[in-house]
Subunit: 480 residues, 2 copies
């Protein structure tokens, strides 16, 4: 993990992507011509390699920061992505693999030979290897582990022993440690002997002879204090630290809250075993909010936008199937009232309004609650207060908008009783939506599931079936 | 902006919130008793101040980091929030005001006297003042500006002159600048003379006599290089820098991409005018993804979960009104086919299935696209490819799930032609959902709007009206 002294992006990433795409398209054109002249079995790539365009593309890629190459790979459809991936210098493979999203990484790894993967992986640190290990071919992992020294192997094993959402899986091992009984002058000389400091080193870790964390010395304090002073005088002796089995997202929130750049990870005996850095935390914050958005829509995980149709179908089918069942249930609710609809066909036209507005309003409530839960602002203690508030909002919306639509219904079908039923049904369905909008995510959380999981599908199921039942039920009672 | 050497949170924030709530409730109990005994006009707060519980609560709050107090204030309903706010020591008011969310800050400021606000604001830096200025009473801002020196006033003015989403509005002015023709030794001595370094100082800014940025010297390099070396030899001369009128979200992406901690902001002549830091960027990343989630559900802005019912109604009414109109249109589509429904009432029961699955599937597509747009992976160049992919997914889902529901419809109503119409309608509506799921956010982006804006309401509108039309239309043509 090196902190990039990246060049100023004089052109935006979008521009650079456009340039790469254009160069690629020019090749394709040439390629197509060659192809047609020399028959269908002409080796496409071979035919390209010597062209001038390709050299230009190569130069362009070499100039780009690894993170930018990763961005370009993510933004390209599979075929183009692999063409570009072939052009990337082998010694950058590792960096770029670490930067791309999981879905895209899978496509790149599938295109690599074992020996190429091995070469790329050898450049990586223990924590980076651990991140990737689950996605690499088993043989490659095995061979890799053989090449590591005992300490490195131990670190990879330890990082692998934690769940993805635990601190232990995100920590790295690039700590600079010092003793508390030396002067700052000695620390400064020690640092100068290191050729380089790890990225995100904003503090040094003070440990005793057993490796137990005694405190942290921030670089800022090191710089402004008298070099004659002892580390123990200047260090902060009770720093924010984490345990490897803590929830990583909680750690990310602590980073955000306390504006941290790095923090020590200690085991239960207080021994320093690694550190967390802000860059991993930023990635985590982004991933969390992404998965929240995706989960609400019933998408299982990050889907590469250029994923194959088949893969996308698999990503989406589960919640669609749930939705099919719920839609079928709503349909059976209507089936119960077919007699009423036959007598008064206006009911068929009006019922989707009740269901639709309920669904929209319920989605607003559930989005609010899921949001507040992600920020830890909702506890079981304030459930009833939240429900009361949401019911209040629903009551006002129901009376106002239900009233409007009731008047419209009266105007259309010239029946004031139909209008009243419409208003009443809207209000009741909005109240139901509000109640379930709070209770669904609360219940999911209480049984230990992600509160955003398919929230949208579930609330819509309730407001559809509920809306049809309330409206058709009221109509059957009072209109027929 | 001080980087907190925050204490290790030995208890979780949730625990601390629970403790505060409990102490508060104990007071309320005592308060209620006093209240009942001494009549309704007893001053509630006076009656509490001397109680022992209160002292404990006060101690608890004093021990907490400002960010933690802010969290607790956000998680409490209005009444409790203001009770706690009264207990916070005046000299921390400013820090805490800067930490809380906009919606909560508004409630706190409304509870403060002008002179209290003034005192809190006087502790702030120019960039922090500028952040808050729009929310403070006009008189207070005026008085504040009077108390500032010329440079500070100029900085506040300059920060205020940028839009909220521009780099200029997020930069601060706490740069440490050095010259390129001095040795590292001199730099180290200079730093030692400063009593303190600003938070997030991972690099020093190298400027010439006109204040033009010549490069940056990272602290890491300062520490590992020979003190005899000149700054010019060690500095990076072409660092990532930003202009004040650049889009702040682009800057945040650059911070994430290049793992930056701080970066210089320069005007069009290359003069250093401020800096950006990772903490502001993390806040921005979180806010962006939050507003994406909220926008999709048709919520206008961050809504404090304990906001008054009335405020919540206002936040939500706009998209509900849009939804009402679209639901009414869908209802009129059904109205067109009332004759068909009268003849075959099964249509009324089956039509919501077609509309509902279309809505769910469209929501999945639109979520994917909005997501990819936020990550800059979608350009106008790949629209047609994306549409083709989504149409492919829709076709498979339509045939599979449409087939299933077609068989079920056949089973229920014993009409194979009804089953075929059902399957065909599902497939067509899913294709429509896929097409619009791509085109709606694309169009919003092209006309310069937020692509997430009410995306969910719009796609549902299309799939409802479209679904009813397709299904009832096909049924009228082939079944009656």
């Amino acid at each position: 993990m090196t902190e990039a002294e990246a060049k100023k992006p004089q052109e935006s990433l979008q521009d650079r992507l456009a340039q790469v795409v254009e160069l690629l398209q020019r090749h394709r054109l040439v390629e197509d011509l060659t192809h047609r002249q020399e028959g269908p079995h002409q080796d496409r790539v071979e035919g390209l390699v010597h062209r001038q365009n390709l050299a230009e593309l190569q130069r362009k890629l070499d100039d780009l920061h690894s993170a930018d190459v990763a961005y370009i790979l993510e933004a390209l459809p599979l075929e183009d992505r692999l063409a570009i991936w072939q052009l990337v210098k082998a010694d950058r493979d590792g960096d770029i693999l670490l930067e791309v999203s999981d879905a895209v990484r899978e496509t790149l790894l599938a295109d690599m030979e074992d020996h190429e993967i091995l070469a790329a992986a050898k450049e990586m640190d223990a924590d980076e290897l651990a991140d990737l290990a689950s996605e690499l071919p088993r043989d490659v992992v095995h061979e890799l582990m053989e090449t590591l020294d005992a300490q490195q192997r131990e670190r990879v094993r330890s990082a692998l022993s934690y769940e993805e959402e635990q601190v232990g899986a995100l920590m790295d091992f690039e700590m600079v440690t010092i003793r508390e009984d030396v002067s700052l002058e000695v620390v400064l000389r020690y640092l100068r002997r290191l050729k380089e400091l790890p990225g995100h080193t904003d503090k040094l870790f003070v440990v005793d002879y057993d490796g137990v964390l005694k405190g942290v010395l921030s670089i800022k304090r090191l710089l402004v204090n008298d070099p004659e002073k002892q580390v123990a005088e200047v260090m902060a002796s009770d720093p924010v630290s984490f345990h490897p089995d803590e929830d990583a997202y909680d750690a990310a929130q602590a980073f955000e809250r306390y504006d941290l750049i790095s923090a020590p990870v200690v085991d239960k005996n207080g021994k320093l075993i690694g550190r967390l850095t802000i860059d991993e935390m930023v990635d985590l914050i982004r991933e969390e909010s992404e998965s929240e958005v995706l989960n609400m829509a019933g998408l299982r995980e990050e889907e590469d936008i250029f994923a194959s149709v088949w893969k996308s179908v698999r990503n989406r089918w589960a919640w669609l199937a749930v939705n099919l069942v719920t839609a079928f249930m709503a349909s059976r609710v209507i089936g119960l009232f077919e007699g009423s609809i036959e007598k008064l066909v206006a009911l068929a036209a009006l019922m989707p309004i009740v269901a639709g507005i309920g669904g929209n309003s319920g989605n607003q409530t559930i989005t609010m609650i899921v949001r507040a839960m992600a920020l830890d602002q909702v506890s079981t203690g304030n459930t009833s207060r939240l429900i009361r508030k949401e019911l209040g909002v629903a009551l006002i919306n129901g009376l106002v908008w239900g009233g409007v639509i009731g008047i419209v219904a009266y105007g259309l079908y010239d029946s004031w009783s139909l209008g009243v039923v419409m208003t009443a049904a809207m209000t009741l369905n909005l109240l139901l939506a509000a109640l379930m909008g709070v209770l669904i995510p609360m219940t999911l959380m209480r049984i230990g599931r992600d509160p955003a999981m398919g929230a949208s599908v579930m609330i819509t199921a309730v407001t559809d079936s509920g809306g049809f039942f309330i409206f058709l039920g009221l109509a059957s009672l009072f209109l027929l």
